[in-house]
């Protein structure tokens, strides 16, 4: 007799972002943190959001949700390795974009990430407004969210700090690659 065990498939995904199940979305949705509001975000600080890939995946571009008050800052979004210290890829900083819109930034050469754990990272060059979710710092910590300071542009070996009460909505558009 052959026993066929259920294999936990990862569903296909086109984006990975703050509210994704592959990221911290399971926790945020369970806590009712699903309403996006525009808030001010301090220069240099930023969250590192853990996410995992069950298969090799190619990054196409990054995106964020520009806030409702214009400012002069630039946005940097990127990917850190599982150690939260090794920067693998980032935009390097681009203009935040028009108020109240999703802004996309091409990664240039597509980036292929092997199956594994990573962090999505976000930072701004100057105080900016950005759409995101507001919650409790200790709950964000229990979701695995890390916070960095003085990390613009995104760089390796960032300093980790106490969690904040806001978390921007941002992410990456991906294309799954069967190994």
């Amino acid at each position: 007799m052959v026993n066929i065990l259920p294999v936990p498939f990862e569903p296909e995904h086109t984006t990975i972002h703050t509210l994704s199940t592959l990221c911290v979305g399971s926790c945020l949705r369970a806590w009712g943190y699903t309403s996006l509001t525009s808030f001010a975000w301090a220069a240099g600080s930023g969250p590192l959001l853990p996410f995992s890939l069950a298969r090799d995946t190619t990054l196409r571009d990054y995106f964020w949700y520009a806030g409702n008050v214009a400012a002069a800052g630039d946005i940097d979004v990127g990917i850190y390795a599982e150690d939260a210290q090794t920067l693998l890829n980032s935009t390097g900083g681009v203009a935040r974009g028009a108020n109240g819109t999703i802004i996309r930034s091409n990664v240039g050469v597509d980036v292929r990430l092997p199956r594994g754990r990573y962090y999505l990272a976000f930072s701004v060059s100057a105080s900016e407004t950005i759409y995101g979710v507001t919650g409790q710092a200790s709950l964000y910590e229990a979701a695995g969210i890390l916070t960095t300071t003085d990390n613009y542009p995104l760089a390796s070996s960032p300093t980790l700090a106490a969690p904040l009460t806001n978390c921007p909505y941002f992410g990456t558009r991906v294309h799954g690659v069967m190994p």
């Binding site: 009712g32 409790q136 979701a143």
Partner: protein, 184 residues
């Protein structure tokens, strides 16, 4: 080709923090509200909530989220399911009994790194004082857990139909669980 071939799938990664609200937790798909600070209902009470670990992991620390007032000793743990019926059985990990420290923050108990197989478990949180507050949800629709009156987490829980110390099911979902290797 095997159904378990890497060309098909190698499974999901568990999140770095595993608790009742995280991915695959019983509350992850229930949009309720954020756990708020609530007073621990009774001294020497332990709450057990089921969790699922989707792949082998290494547990580094146990944690819980303190509430607005701190006044007690806390012990976290992890239990296997009982061999029959539904509920916690033998203890797999028992943390230290430690005085809670820090208001409205996550508190950790560093333990010896412990490998854990994929499967179903119960996270346990015990407190010796009723004046202790911690982040939790108390909603009837979340009655997934069970509670025991204990003087501390024990090696195992009796598996008879009416185990000694049982208080019955619980609608308390405490924010507590496992912190895995990989989390800074």
């Amino acid at each position: 080709m095997s159904l378990h071939s890497p060309s098909v799938s190698r499974g999901l990664f568990p999140p770095l923090y595993i608790h009742p609200y995280s991915q695959s937790g019983p509350l992850s798909e229930v949009n309720t509200s954020a756990p708020s600070s609530g007073v621990f209902p009774a001294a020497n009470r332990a709450y057990f909530t089921p969790i699922y670990v989707s792949a082998p992991v290494i547990v580094r620390r146990l944690f819980w989220a303190n509430g607005a007032t701190i006044a007690g000793n806390v012990q976290a743990g992890l239990y296997l399911s009982r061999s029959t019926g539904n509920g916690p059985g033998p203890a797999l990990l028992r943390g230290n009994q430690v005085a809670q420290a820090g208001v409205t923050v996550c508190q950790y108990d560093d333990i010896t790194d412990t490998p854990l197989s994929a499967g179903y478990y119960w996270v346990a949180l015990w407190c010796d004082a009723s004046g202790y507050f911690m982040r939790r949800i108390a909603v009837e629709m979340l009655r997934f857990g069970t509670q025991y009156s204990l003087s501390g987490l024990t090696d195992g829980l009796p598996e008879d139909a009416s185990p000694a110390g049982t208080v019955g099911s619980s609608n308390w979902a405490v924010l507590s669980g496992l912190c895995l290797r990989g989390a800074p």
